[in-house]
Structures are given as C-alpha cells and as structure tokens.
Symmetry: D2
Subunit: 338 residues, 4 copies
C-alpha cells in the first residue's frame, strides 16, 4: 500500500501518518520525490482493508498494491483448479462442457423435452431455474421445489447433471439437495450472507459476475466462498451493464483470459444473458470458446415464443444443435474437446 | 406495447403475431407504415411481462409503452406519500430530515459520541450499521445484534430515531424489532426474497438504488414492497457506477426530480457513498436539497481516521455542523425547513 | 415514430399533436388503449430527426421505430459490401486480413523492421501512426509527413498496403495521398466536418467506434461518409468505455455479428486498444475471428519496452507470429481463410 | 510513478527495470515488501508519459502518482482563475453568470426574440449555435456564418455577450471574430488539433466535458489550451454517458467541487444536455448553483415545439424567468450573486 501525501502536506502530517502506520503494526517506508512524498507500507495490506488512512490530514491518496483477494489468486495456487462435478464431468480440464436448457422450468413436459434435445446435441449439464429472480413482481416466479423435482427426473432419465439457481439462504438446503451445481445469479454476487453459507457446503458453485462488478469484486465474491472452505467455484461471465442499448448487456469476453491470468479458478461464459438476442448467441458461443472458456451456459427452449421467460434470447433446439457442431470445430482449433 | 415487424416480415408473420396477441387475451391494432408494419397491443401490457413475443418470426422489436410499475407510479396515487416514522417525524413533507452517524457501530462509546454530536447539529435520525455488507471477507463485518442494542441505547438517550441495514431474511425479525427505518443496501436492491418479506411488515423501508440500477428498476424494486402491502417506502439515491474513477460512484441528483415526477414516494440522497471523499460531501448535500430531496443520509464519525469503515467519506462532527448551517439556508431558499 | 400521450393528456393536447404532425406533412394514426393514447406517424420519420414533438403539451414520450441510418442499413443494400483496397486485397470477403504494426511510426529503422516482421508472419496491411492523437500535450505527437514517407517506403519494400490515421481536415489531402486506407480514430468518430470531407473522396475509410458510441451512433457516423458518396467504409470495433478498470476498454465482440445484421458494411476488430494489455491480445484475436470479424488491427512493435506509445499493448513479433498460426486454425474452423 | 513487480519477478527483472529508469534520466528507489517489490521513480513523471515500462519483463503494474496535468492544477496556480469576458463580465468571481438561448440560431426573428427574453430574465450571455454538430447527416446543420451575423446583431441590440460553438479548425477564425466566448463541444473535447489552435488565440474558451471523459482527461484537454498560451479556459460539465436511459446523460454535479479542488479554472454547468428533458432542468440549475458552479449554460427557446433542435430540453421563456428567480435565492444562500 502506498500513501501519497498532498503537495502541501506538512512535516507533522507525514510524521502522523508514519506513526499511525506503525501503531497498526506495519512498517513505513518514506520516499521523498521532487513533487510528492510517498509512504510505502510494508506488511500484508489486506489486513488494512477498511482502515481509513485517507482521512488523515495531508493524505492525498491511498493506493493498494496487492490484489485484495488471496485464496482466489494464482499466487496462492499455481496450478489450475479443476472442479469435479461428478465422476466423469470436470470443469476446467481439457474438455469443454456445455450447460444448456430453458431459462425456467415451466412444466414437466417442457423440461423433459428440452433435456432430450440438449442431450442429443451434446450438452452434458442441464440448466433450468426453479427459483427465478424477476425484475417484476408480476412475472412468473418459478415452480420452486416442484421445479427441482422435475429437474431431478430429467437428470435420471437423460443422464445429465443439473445446474440451478439458489436465491435465498432459506432455500439453500433444498437446492443443494437436488442440484449438482448451485448457481449464484448476477444479482446475488454480493449477497454476502449467501456466499458465506455456500462456503460451508461441499458442492460446486457457479458464481455469475454481477451486473456491474469489476473482475476484482467478482474474485472477492469467490474469496468469500473459498475462505469458507469450499474450493469448488466456477466463475461465469454473463455480460456487464454499459450504455449500449441494442444488447441486454455487453458480454466481456476479455474476462476469460484475465480471470485465468489472475486466478486458478475455471471460467465459463453465458452468452444468452450477455447479449439477450438469440440471433447473436451462436457467434458469441464460438468467440467464448476461442477466447479460452472452460464451458458455456446457454438458454435453449423447445419453443421460444411460448417461453415464460427470456424467449428472445433462447435458441431453438435446431439452432443449438447446429451451434454445437461449429463449437466442436472451434474447440479443436484451440486444442480442446467438446 | 408496440410490436415492430421487420422490413422483410411476411403477411403470414403478421397474422401469426396477431393471432398470438389475441390468444393471450389482448386486442391487436394493425398499422401499416411506409417502411414498417407495427402492431399495437390494447390491454394491460404489464400482464405480458416476460411473454416472449420477440421470438416470433418476423418480429424486429417489442417496445413497451407503459411503465412496468403500477403502485409506485403517480398514475396510481396522485398525492405524494408521506412516510410517518414516528409521531413527530415524517419523510416527504415540508420538513427535510437529516439521517447521520457512522458507517458502522464500532463500540458503545463511539456510537454514543456520534449520536450526541449529530443530535447537537440538528440531525433527527441516527444511522449506523450493525450488519455490514463488505466487499472483502477480511474486513470488519459489524457487531450484529450487539450493535442493534447500542443503537437502541443511543435512541433512548438522545431522542433520535434509528435507521440501520438488514442484509438477510434471517435477521429481518431482529432488525425490525430495533430499527425505526429498515435500510436495504444497494447490493440488495434486487434481493427479491428480502423485498417480499419487507412487503409483509409494517415498518418504513429505506430502499437504496442499486449500483447500476436504472430508475425504472429501482421503482420496480419498490413495487415488490408496495405490492406486498407495505407502502412506507423511502427511496435513496446513493450514486451509480460509471467510468469515472476519481469518485467512488457518480451521484445522480437528477434522480431526485425524476423520481418525484414518476412516483409518489419520497426520495432522499446519500452523498457519502455517492462521492466517497469527504471533501466534496458538503457541496453535494447542498445540491441535493436544492434539487428537492426530502432528506439526507450522511456519514459522520467522531474521529474519521480511526473509523473501521468508510473513514475517507465520513465528515467530522465539526464539518457536519457547519454543513447543517448551510443546508438550513438552502432549505429556506427552496421553501422548506430543516 | 410513435407518440405516447401522458395518462392525463387532454383531448385538446391530442388534437394539437395530430395537427402538428399533419402540418409537418405526415399522416397521424390514432390508437386509444386502456391506459394510454398513442399516435403513430406514417411517413419517413428520418425527416423528423430533430423535430421537437416531445415539447408539445401532453406528450410523454416520442419513440422512433425506424433506424435513423438509411444507406448503412441492410434494408438499403441486401448484399454485403466488399471494400476493395487494391487489386488483390478486399475487406469483407472470404479472406480475413490482418493489419499490423506499431502504434506510431517512430523512425525509419523501427518501421522497416516492424514491416518485415509482420509481413513474414502473414499480415497484408501495415499500420503505423504519423499523426498521433495523444491525451497529453507532453507526449510524442507523431512524425507527421515524415512518418507518411517512411510508411510509403515500407509499402514499396515489403509489398504491404498502408493504413494510417487522419486527425484533421487540413492534413486529409496529404494523408489521402499516402494511405491505402484512411483511419478515423475513436475520438474523431463524431468529427462531422472530417466525416463530410471523407465522403467526398474515393479511398477506403476505416471508421473506429467511438469510446462511448452506441452501435447506432457508429452507423450514423458511417452514414455521413456514405451519404457523401463514399461507400468504401470499413467499421472497426476497438472497445468501449465501462466501469472495469483492469482493462483499458471493454472489447465488445457482440458488435461484430450485430453490425453484420444491421448493416452491409464489413467490420474488423482492434483488440489492442480494446484490452490494452498485450497478455490478453492473442485470446481476443482468436475470439474476434470466431465471432465473424473480417479482419484485425493489431499493434506489433519490434521492441515493446522501447515503444514511444502503447508499449504495454504491443505484441512482440514472436508472439504475433504465434498468434497468426492460431488464427489460421480458427479461420478454417469458421470456413474462412487468413 | 510506482512500478509494481510481479510476485514471481526475478532479480534480473528488477535490475533491468532500474537500469531502464536510470537510462531515461530518473532515479529509482527500491522497496522490498513482504509480497511485492516496488520501484519508485524520482523525477517529473509527466516526462515519462507514453514510456512503455509495463512492457518490461516482470512488471505487473505501473501506477502514476502525479496528476498528468500541470498548468491546469492547483499546485501550479493557487489562486482561482477569473476569466474576463468583457469589462463587466467575469467568470469565476463572486457573481454567477447565466448563458441562455436556443440550441441553434434558426432565424433572425427567433434569435432576437430569444435574446430579448433571456436578457429580461437576467441572463448576461446569449448562447446559440451557428455551426451544429448533429448525429444525423439529415438533421439541420446550422446557418453557419449567417448565424454568427445574427448573433452579433443580437449582441448589439441587447447588450449581451455571445457564446457559440466552433466545430472545425477551418472555421475557427470566423467564429473567433464574432464570439465573445468560443465553445468547444463535448464531441470535440479531444479534437487535439482544434485545442492546439485555441491555445494560440486570446479569447475565452468554454470547454465542455466529453461524453465519456474522466475529470482527468477533461483537465488534460484544458492543459492543451493552457500549454499553448491561452489561460482563459472555462470548464463546462454537461453530463456523462451511463447506463441510465431515462435521461439523455447523467449530470455529474460532483465534478463542480472536484474541479475546483484539483484546478484553478472556473467551472459552469449545462443541465440542458445533462438531463435532456425540460421538466427537470430547473431543479438541476438550482442544484448546480448550490454545488458551487460559477455559471450555467441553459437552452431557452421562444417556442420549444417549433425548435429545429433540442426542443425537448429547451425551457420556455416563462419557465426560464421563474427559474432565475429561484436561482437568485440559492445564490444568496451560498454567498454569491446572480
């Protein structure tokens, strides 16, 4: 951590800062430049998170040097984390996994049909929301536990694994009972109480990036789970909020190589929410794999115009199957398998 | 709702859209322009929230006409809502209320000192977090129920009302027991399960705008509470996330007159989180009152450099008292009292 | 264009709007819904650009239906535009072209070395700035005409075509004399006087997306050039400004398929400015090709730490050559050549 | 400037960085922390702008310590700059000046009527565009020199000063001949060739903040003019681009106290473009004055629905006159005059 003193800071200001730093148990390193005096702090600055050094007289700026996350960093673990979902499915290895299915579980018929279709096209994991976070209280809110039961039936019948969202600490036990991967939605990325609970269980967690979360904040959210003891975290880029209005969000594919540079955790991409219009999803699936994503999360619906949510961004089973063909070629071109 | 057909949509596409609209129980109104055919939907489009008409062949765009919120709108209630916090404190009336105090309750001494100081300067409501949402798992997480007890003691001793944050549905009962106003933080603005619970209780709720929430989404979050039966909602602008890095957020003061135009709910401003640097808080307090805010939420700490959180954006008691003087003059200039 | 009347608009307000629309030479189409009255405008709404109908009493919102660009749209020209740069180089066809070279022409030696290196790796077009737009007046501002002469020498020697930036209407003639493709930088995307001049010449123009331009505004900037008579426009996505601070910009790869859906113009990608850190450029080059880009613009410097600008985002010749190998495989996987 | 070495940087990497720093004529100051080694650079880091130290092996991050602007900073000039527009009009002193008038000069009648109205209400400077930057090539582009002549006539007749926009280096001489203050629009904030020319003349320049410019970039644009020799620069906040769609831009009023903290230059506010809807302009005018603005730039049109541009954000003369009354009270409340 570097403390930059204002150009008109006094000697007393400087002494007071050094004293404060030392009182907190750190060593201070003074450096007088031509226009500014700076004070370096020697020690683990993460323990200073929240200390209010900026409020000291004469301090112009406090600049952190270290990343604020520890367990999520490459420095903590040099080899890549591979999240084992089941005996034969691992996220983060050579094989890329595609998680596909409808936005929401709407009925037994709809979900089983979707499951059959995505399985046939090559997906290994079935997505489908039982508890749905909806912007409007008047929108379909999901089937709840009934939806989880339907997901379990589809798993049984088609040999797919299940990823589904948890919205609330109260429903975590039941979601954890049914799901193979527990999804944390973008709006819950900083629901810290939920993250703490997820740190205590032994199930893979798919952690979506928040709507306006920096990569650093996203990794800090992961740190909550890791520091609780659960290392089975899969990150999921799903688009960030920008001024562009044609797309629902702006899919930030640069997050894929960056997360792999900063962290050992696997990262997948959700182009459906990232773009929000089905026409552009196949291109973004291809781009995600080319950028190095470890998997995809794609909305597929047997009949998009009838969907109770997100029909506009759902692929038809036919388009999904064609896209999977293209993805196999891209995966091969980057030395991986699908 | 207006459905814009693509320039190359066929007659069959148009017919299919009209049929779908009618099947959903609405009337369709066809209008053929020079370059585009558009189909108007007659009926309460809010009931179509989530319908996936964009997924029909030949549809280029679906444009909503009505605001998606109902109970939060001026059309629903023409007169302004005044939220009665206690017999003598009402938010949204002629009198502007200032809620002030530290970011977090750190100790009994700290809070009682802060309470005495903000009371002396003219604040009527004491702020202070007992449950703290922190970006880092390694930061101070708040005193929990102990913090609530300290807040209650300060209320008793100084005749202030209490506003404090709820983070989780599980702690809502205890927070509701102690607080006069229950605060929902920016990160929880779309914690829909929490909003639903807040709709069931009879306590004022201070609903902060999400970090990257549009005004419409913010009013939709309020709609969750209102539609649950609780009309005591106070909105709080606290800055939105932009590309600017000098400030913590960008305080959107235009939200004040806009919310008052679109909704009947009162709106206050939190310049502390909005700007994030104490030097600029007094100016933004003045601007908020001049823009028409019904109140302020301001961080004040007896000794900012010692604060366990947000010291850089906390006013000293002295600066706060001076600011209150200025605010009295601004309030008078816009025909209100402080 | 749709005019939405406020819920409390009077009959006189409605009549006045209809009269105004008819006075402007358009037909009005009235539709009374349950909660709102809307008035459709029949005619080419682009001729209403700038009309101030929102200012009429009782008008709540004016919603455009048509895209504001005409010549840049797919409706105007169904087949894809292929920009012929020279007899053997065309942008927008089956073959993907890579434009590479240093940020700035720094010296004859530097540029010739770079030219030799990018040529050897498979680039067909050499980039290099002679006139440099720099945020700081104290930074290197480019070699000017001398830089153009060096570029011409490199073209001669290595059989590459030249793309270089024009910053100002006054230097357009000399830039046009030397360049094979004239680049308009992001900061000049809405330099309308410059765009008008570019509409009058017969040279390919590479139009970068503005730092915070929507796709629609970008296509409107292209419309300025097209409507002036020059159809040789190549669009270039180069990242947009967001709240993320780890990257220089956020590269919006969804712009690639979207531009191809909305327009007939070719589109290339500049991942160097889009990300700003060389480590992640190869991954984003791969992703851009997989998303369907017609080309790339990549910064390559013989010795990045010595670069006078943008060294942090410049590839070494070795990394560039390796990246080109990967891109050949991706291009083949999407049915194209490099 | 601080160079942060990567956690796995070698001793040779460190030595190479120190050598490079010294070769550039600076002193290096080494500091070994627990987890990272950092190297401080002693000397005027502004001379390193553009140096590519990030590209050296083992470098993780290069963090500037000094603001990149010099002449625009408070450190360069401690007292506030007051820009003298004429003998009796100065921007930045005790008196707040309101610049008002239509978006564009549309006709002699329209402008003279507007001039009479804004003069009567208390404006001292008349705004009106003769050269108009328009998003669409099909929109009204301004009357050009004819518009300047009309502005001059209004100045003569009503004793107002004139502020009008320059779009292009070629028309700068004629604009400078007529204008009392030369306006640089948001889209031209980084038109560096134009800024350089403005540095050479002796006329006040009103420099609008770019659509997505940080405060630092805005001050760097001012630095171009100052470093050219022209110190008569007035900064103008006019809203920045965010994800919010209800307003045209998000007016960043915190920029007012921040600019006054970082720079000696005066700063005014344009709420018309900042919000884009006339209903909210009076509130934002009040807020701007309360925040400490030295002036306002407000669009007023004799008949907004007939305006050829920006009618939706233009005040009627009546609303403008009422707003001026309110502003006098706010100005008095902050110890200033209007």
């Amino acid at each position: 951590m570097i403390i930059v003193m204002a150009h008109n800071a006094t000697e007393d200001d400087i002494k007071a800062v050094i004293k404060k730093v030392e009182d907190l148990g750190f060593r201070a390193h003074l450096s007088r430049g031509v226009e500014r005096t700076i004070i370096g702090i020697i020690g683990d600055e993460r323990q200073l998170a929240g200390a209010s050094l900026e409020a000291l007289p004469g301090v112009e700026e406090v600049i952190p040097i270290l990343q604020p996350y520890k367990m999520a960093s490459r420095a903590f673990r040099a080899e890549r984390t591979i999240v084992q979902v089941s005996e034969d499915i691992a996220i983060g290895g050579e094989r890329i996994h595609v998680m596909a299915g409808p936005c929401a579980v709407e009925s037994r018929e709809q979900l089983l049909e979707a499951a059959a279709q995505v399985k046939a096209a090559g997906a290994t994991i079935l997505r489908g929301g039982a508890f749905k976070p909806r912007t409007s209280p008047y929108s379909f809110q999901g089937l709840g536990v009934k939806g989880l039961e339907i997901l379990a039936e589809a798993r049984e019948k088609y040999g797919l694994k299940i990823v589904t969202e948890v919205m609330d600490v109260r429903s975590l036990p039941v979601v954890a009972e049914y799901a193979d991967i527990i999804q944390v939605g973008a709006r819950n990325m900083q629901n810290f109480d939920l993250l703490k609970e997820l740190g205590k269980i032994d199930k893979p967690v798919l952690l979506k990036r928040g709507l306006s979360a920096t990569i650093e904040e996203w990794l800090m959210a992961a740190e909550y789970i890791l520091s609780g003891g659960n290392f089975k975290v899969i990150l999921c880029e799903r688009g960030i909020r920008t001024f562009e209005t044609y797309t629902r969000n702006t899919l930030d594919l640069s997050a894929v190589p960056i997360v792999k540079h900063l962290s050992h955790l696997p990262v997948i991409v959700d182009p459906s929410h990232g773009v929000g219009r089905w026409q552009f999803i196949p291109a973004m699936c291809r781009a995600a794999i080319a950028a190095g994503a470890d998997g995809l999360l794609v909305e597929v619906h047997p009949n998009p115009p009838e969907a109770l949510c997100d029909g506009a961004q759902s692929l038809t089973p036919k388009t999904f199957a064609e896209t999977m063909e293209e993805l196999r070629r891209i995966a091969a071109a980057v030395g991986r398998k699908l």
